[in-house]
Subunit: 104 residues, 2 copies
Amino acid sequence: MARTYEHPEPEDVSLPRVLFALSDPVRLEMVRTLAERGPVNSIELGPGMPKSTVTHHTRILREAGVTKTSPEGRSCWISLRRDLMESKFSGLLEAVLNAESDDA
Amino acid sequence: MARTYEHPEPEDVSLPRVLFALSDPVRLEMVRTLAERGPVNSIELGPGMPKSTVTHHTRILREAGVTKTSPEGRSCWISLRRDLMESKFSGLLEAVLNAESDDA
């Protein structure tokens, strides 16, 4: 049976939860990778990390509404929910991504 | 002896920590109040809240670099470090404040 992943409806996506999901260096790097590369196989999001760590972080991003997880065979593809973020919190994701670029 | 409050230097202000400071509904409301009203006596930031709760939240905002705390007699004035936020994370605070307005 295919795994399924729950995603919040747009009206349930809240700013505090999105900000919390983004408030971790590992998850910020994941979001930046997704912004640069588009949908990515989840194993590529945490190079060198235990799978459980990757799953932990991708789950927080997904449950906050920041990302979408799509199972495909034994893999998961992760993508940014850019349209949702932009419609709910205009300019936020861009500001976060730009700030991160400046830090690096 | 006057109380002193430590504030991070601009180079020590980090995006994850700022996002975490903003990831709480109480602190978001405090930031919105400060954005609307300018410097505010700390007791006005948490109407009806225990002083210890107000102190807890204003401390997280201050230590992240989001706000400045200035003691004055027995009071504390809190203000947003808007210039610092804008120079480090251009557009972030505005996006957060706009999103909050939409929610309300």
